[in-house]
């Protein structure tokens, strides 16, 4: 029991990070129908940038995060602008284009930060809390709180602001949105920038939990994608639930299969997604002949 709870808590904090990755990923997907394979590498750049501002420039952790979010947001704008000619046209080509950007971003990271990674100390230095015999790191609580805030904030933005509503309209029908005077290009760019910012948030937060290096994106990203799929592509709630599920699954397989945890995680994920391809909150699309 104790052990199960401990696994669960460990899974929740990583799951919160996966949820953030999935959130940005889903936002971009629902708005422009684009699966952004560079998303993970944007998160990696975010992690590096945050760690540089925090460790090298000695800025406060929160400020470092904000700066890294701004930087990645700008990167997101560039990617969106370059791939704009393909939007709403060739799905697979866009997907490959974002993989190309991912390769570029990894090379850039190596050029700037080198191949050796860095360990980021936790910005919260209080001792772990003891709740019902389960050790909970205070930093983990911080991560969960930030994720919760991000989810609520994004939900508010989409539901209550004019730009958010415009983004929803573009997601439903980009042609109709154009017809009522929404600048689809600008709306997509904004979605992409917010998505990239969320990736940086995830990357910055995961810094003190994992080791930051150029391959961070690979591990973080594919699990974030898996989370988005499991929850249901394009669904905001799904991203959160999927993230937590993958996090818990991850921490469970790490406890039981040690070295083979990644293999076990993805086998379980593959079976789950085959049983329900549209994910938990996803809608089955009817193919119309």
């Amino acid at each position: 029991m104790q052990e199960t709870l401990q696994t669960l808590v460990g899974g929740l904090s990583l799951g919160a990070v996966y949820a953030l990755v999935a959130l940005g990923f889903s936002l971009v997907y629902r708005t422009m129908g684009l699966v952004n394979f560079a998303h993970a590498d944007i998160a990696m750049i975010g992690a590096y940038a945050a760690s540089t501002f925090y460790l090298t420039a000695k800025l406060p952790f929160a400020l470092a995060m904000v700066l890294s979010i701004l930087i990645t947001g700008a990167i997101g704008l560039v990617i969106e602008r370059v791939l704009r000619p393909l939007e709403n046209k060739d799905f697979d080509l866009m997907l490959i284009g974002t993989i190309g950007f991912g390769i570029v971003l990894q090379a850039v990271a190596i050029l700037i930060w080198g191949t050796t990674g860095r360990a980021v100390p936790s910005p919260v230095r209080t001792a772990p809390l003891d709740i019902l015999g389960v050790r909970v790191r205070t930093y983990d609580l911080l991560v969960m709180a930030v994720t919760a805030l991000a989810v609520v904030g994004l939900g508010f933005f989409l539901a209550r602001t004019k730009r958010g509503a415009a983004m929803q309209a573009v997601a439903m029908d980009h042609e109709a949105a154009t017809a009522v005077g929404i600048d689809v290009g600008r709306s997509n760019a904004l979605a992409f920038a917010i998505g990239a910012g969320l990736a940086a948030l995830a990357g910055g937060l995961v810094g003190p939990m994992l080791y930051v290096d150029a391959s961070l994106g690979g591990a973080l990203g594919i699990k974030g994608f898996a989370a988005a799929m499991l929850g249901g592509f394009g669904s905001i709630n799904g991203a959160v639930v999927g993230g937590i599920l993958i996090g818990v699954l991850d921490s469970y397989t790490a406890g039981h299969f040690q070295g083979y945890s990644v293999l076990a995680t993805f086998l379980v994920f593959t079976v789950a997604i085959m049983i329900r391809p549209m994910g938990i909150f996803g809608e089955r699309t009817v193919s119309r002949a």
Partner: protein, 612 residues
């Protein structure tokens, strides 16, 4: 043709002479390049030809290499015995990785295959049997009587032979029946199913082909380097492989090969600046997808297009749609009982009931019209009959057999053909190939011939091509045989759809709004074509809004409204039925607005309006 043979011969001779001019390091690089070229062919077959986003190719490569390494060093097998087992193991892996493709496509499939590749890397880095992060060294030199394969020069010839055979086989697949079906599936899986392609089997075939090439590349790699370690099979290398295929041109196997060899050489040349090289090819991939989505392989065609546009076209000017040659009337259909029997079929989409206990009987030799306002369930009915949707309740019987749960391909083979309301031609195939896909009535299991009896494939191919030519001639399409469907006028595309459906030699032809977007002259031609099709012995059911066409063509009309059959009978009976008038003109709404009573049946106003 002759110049092409000369070019191929020159290439073979050059490939044979190549080692004589190269230093020992360069030949090593060339050996590596050939291995990547094999991998890229597999990737191209899955991604470019079959449209299956397969990001696990590097894992297939790894399974092949590790199998050889483990079996030779751990279990004491000889190299070739290990190689045979390695091919089998890789193909089995390919089948397993391909299973998700049955349930999902596109990006979903990409993420799942990428995840499985990551799982494989995780396993080889941690398992004892694979030597962990250190890998396995001491793989024996493959033995060949009289040839010392430890020399990289001689190994080159072994690789060149395997690669040459691999490329020829790949091209053979692409340009014959199997490859055509794979490409049709890539362009439009639904339409491919409706022309008789077994989509699930074809998807698995794509993964088997990809894994076969991956496994061969892995075996050659193990024999060449004689050492395997996880970093060779990393995701980084997966993306480089992807870059090769995209830069070369994913839809052309030769393009994939050029991309693979080119990028391997560039990578080696820039090995001191590997990070900059990575930056460079990442950027090239991005530029390629935006500016040259067909890759290097597509550049010649684009240049030719540009040239033709600049200096005026001369060849296409005389292309014209020739008149349709009627079929020779077939014997009177002697069918016991009706050909198509739809009994109390309902179809629900979540809360919405699109079809509500629809019953309909079509006799052999009929031309049946199905009309009704938009959203009345006409196309849904077609989708149920042709196997795209499964009815929520009720049964469909075709030619006496219960086909309620039959898949589209099975119905196509049984003799049901259809066209689509919004044109579903295979966009990247030529008109001739569109017809060839439909003419091919063989089941997918006949692909055993590709492995064991290739002359059988060639003979079938020749027969199909002859038949395709006569279909093209009958429908007056010979001038457009090599054109891409999307480049043709709308009316011609509509005719191609009918020709494609008829190429399956159906007993029942379902036409979904065949006159939509046609001009008056084209509608007249359509009437002649449909009559001739019926006279040849094929029963026709058509959905149409053009009432004039329906009135003059159909002996019997079924009217649907809100998913229900509201009238059935001869054209005259149907237009007089009060339910029909109400459905079309909304009788109650009109009276609420204080307008006069609905127009009488003698004035077929909706019909007039639609014909003009």
């Amino acid at each position: 043709m002759k110049s092409r043979i000369t070019a191929v011969l020159a290439l073979v001779v050059a490939a044979g002479a190549l080692p004589y001019g190269l230093g020992s390091y360069t030949i090593h690089v060339v050996d590596i390049a050939l291995i990547y070229a094999l991998l890229a062919i597999g990737m191209g077959l899955a991604m470019g030809i079959s449209g299956q986003i397969n990001l696990a190719q590097v894992a297939f490569f790894g399974v092949g290499a590790y199998c050889v390494a483990i079996l030779t060093t751990n279990n004491g097998y000889g190299f070739w015995a290990a190689a045979v087992l390695a091919v089998l193991a890789t193909v089995v892996t390919g089948l397993l990785v391909g299973i998700p493709a049955l349930r999902m496509q596109s990006h979903y499939l990409g993420i799942v295959t990428l995840g499985l590749a990551l799982g494989f890397i995780n396993w080889i880095t941690n398992a004892d049997i694979s030597g962990g992060a250190d890998g396995i060294s001491g793989v024996p030199v493959p033995t060949l009587p009289g040839v010392d394969l430890s020399s990289e020069y001689l190994y080159y010839y072994l690789e060149a032979v395997v690669f040459g055979l691999g490329l020829v086989f790949g091209l053979f697949v692409v340009h014959t029946s199997l490859g055509r079906r794979l490409r049709a599936m890539r362009d439009d899986a639904l339409a491919a199913g409706a022309t008789g392609a077994e989509i699930p089997l074809l998807r698995m075939t794509a993964f088997v082909l990809a894994s076969l090439y991956g496994g061969l590349a892995g075996i050659l790699y193990a024999g060449l380097i004689r050492y395997v370690a996880p970093e060779t099979f990393s995701l980084g290398n997966m993306f480089i492989l992807l870059a090769m295929v995209i830069i070369g041109g994913r839809r052309s196997l030769v393009g994939c090969v050029v991309g693979a060899i080119g990028l391997t050489l560039v990578r080696e040349w820039l090995s001191d600046f590997s990070t900059y090289a990575q930056l460079g090819y990442g950027a090239v991939v991005v530029l390629m997808v935006v500016f040259a989505p067909t890759g290097l392989a597509g550049v010649p065609a684009r240049l030719r297009d540009l040239y033709r546009r600049r200096f005026g076209r001369t060849s296409d000017d005389r292309a014209e749609l020739r008149p349709f040659t009627p079929y020779t009337p077939g014997p009177e259909p002697s069918q016991d009982g009706p050909l198509l029997q739809v009994a109390e079929v309902s179809k629900d989409f979540r809360g919405l009931r699109a079809l509500d206990e629809v019953s309909l009987t079509v006799d052999a030799g009929e031309i049946r019209g199905i009309v009704g306002p938009n959203g009345s369930g006409k196309t849904t009915l077609f989708n149920v009959v042709s196997g795209f949707y499964r009815a929520s309740a009720g049964t469909v019987r075709f030619a006496g057999a219960d086909t309620t749960r039959a898949r589209p391909y099975a119905l196509s083979l049984a003799g049901v053909a259809r066209t689509f309301q919004n044109l579903r031609l295979f966009g990247q195939l030529t008109v001739r190939e569109n017809i060839l896909v439909a003419l091919d009535r063989t089941r997918t299991y006949t692909i055993w011939q590709y492995a064991l009896w290739q002359p059988g494939v060639i003979r079938r191919e020749r027969r199909l091509r002859g038949a395709a030519q006569s279909v093209l001639e009958r429908y007056g399409l010979v001038d457009f045989a090599e054109a891409a469907p999307a480049s043709l006028p709308y009316g011609i595309q509509r005719r191609i759809e009918i020709a494609r459906a008829m190429a399956t030699r159906p007993r029942l032809l379902l036409l979904d709004e065949p006159a939509a977007g046609l001009n008056g002259e084209e509608v007249q031609q359509l009437v002649r074509i449909v009559r001739s099709i019926r006279d040849s012995g094929t029963t026709v059911v058509l959905i149409e809004h053009n009432m004039g066409l329906v009135m003059s063509l159909c002996e019997k009309i079924t009217v649907l409204s809100s998913g229900k059959v509201i009238a059935e009978g001869t054209p005259a009976e149907v237009v007089a039925a009060p339910e029909v008038i109400e459905a079309y003109l909304g009788d109650s709404d009109l009276s609420e607005l204080g307008m006069s009573a609905p127009p009488s049946a003698e004035r077929p106003s909706p019909a007039k309006e639609a014909t003009s």
